[in-house]
């Protein structure tokens, strides 16, 4: 259940990063004419995410450029580089619940 929500949130952040960089992409010579499609996709995707989770994502986005960050293999948060407790990582790896960094408050995402 939560795994699906986390993955939707990751997809949403991936989309947001793309939207932020549209003007740079255009400058590099890429075709970005269908910007509306991306905004529509963002709208549809955010509708699938539970309100409290979406709300905390949007709130974190105001504070940080990236609201959800990967956790490195050595258990550090890639947002603030704090070392996370191993117990947290074992829960995090199962994607059974949404976990926030104790140091910076960002949502954590385990890559391995």
């Amino acid at each position: 259940m939560e795994k699906k929500q986390i993955n939707l949130l990751v997809a949403l952040q991936d989309l947001d990063m793309m939207i932020e960089e549209i003007s740079e992409m255009k400058r590099l010579g890429f075709n970005t004419e269908r910007e509306d499609e991306l905004l529509k996709a963002r709208h549809d995707l955010s509708a699938k995410i539970k309100k409290p989770l979406l709300f905390s994502y949007e709130k974190l986005k105001k504070r940080y450029k990236r609201a959800i960050v990967p956790v490195k293999e050595d258990n550090t948060c890639l947002g603030c580089f704090i070392k996370l407790p191993t117990s947290l990582s074992s829960i995090g790896r199962t994607d059974s619940e949404v976990i926030y960094c104790e140091g910076c408050g960002r949502i954590l995402y385990w890559l391995t």
């Binding site: 993955n7 990751v10 997809a11 952040q13 991936d14 989309l15 990063m17 793309m18 960089e21 549209i22 740079e24 992409m25 590099l28 010579g29 890429f30 075709n31 970005t32 004419e33 269908r34 910007e35 499609e37 991306l38 996709a41 450029k65 990236r66 959800i68 960050v69 990967p70 490195k72 890639l78 995402y109 890559l111 391995t112």
Partner: protein, 153 residues
């Protein structure tokens, strides 16, 4: 970003000189699966979704038989570039409607400390705009030949 620096973002395991894919979708799957196989990426489906969304914004087929699919994803930890070559050509909806033979897939993490993503993309576009480089790349058979072309750009 100079050519030597750029070579650091390639890996022999992400060098696919003879792609099987015949469509854009098959191509993305073939390349992303290779990233997963060599453990640069974990979540295949999220990365595929990101790349498809990127194509919805506008084709990354930049013309002259070249495509540079790219994007940032929370599923990546480092910037890596895969290179693939298709002998038969892939239908890609490129800006000049020509099939694509040379593909550079650039996957970047949400944040990179040195902010290399955009300079790398810019450098790739610059190298691939030169006909001489494209022709050499079409002929390159080995990874060392390939890296030689990139480093001389």
């Amino acid at each position: 970003m100079n050519n030597e620096e750029l070579t650091n973002y390639f890996d022999e395991q992400l060098f696919l000189p003879d792609l099987m894919a015949t469509s854009k979708d098959e191509l993305f799957v073939e390349l992303v699966d290779q990233f997963v196989k060599v453990k640069y990426l974990k979540n295949r489906d999220i990365v595929l979704e990101m790349l498809r969304q990127r194509e919805n914004l506008g084709s990354t087929g930049i013309g002259k038989n070249v495509a540079i699919p790219h994007g940032r994803t929370t599923s990546a930890q480092d910037i890596m570039i895969a290179f693939g070559k298709s002998r038969q050509g892939i239908e890609y909806d490129a800006i000049d409607n020509k099939p694509v033979h040379l593909i550079f897939m650039i996957i970047a993490p949400p944040q990179d400390q040195s902010n290399m993503y955009l300079p790398i993309l810019g450098k790739m576009v610059e190298i691939l705009n030169k006909a001489k480089n494209r022709n050499k790349l079409l002929e390159a058979e080995t990874y060392s030949e390939f890296i030689e072309i990139i480093s001389r750009g």
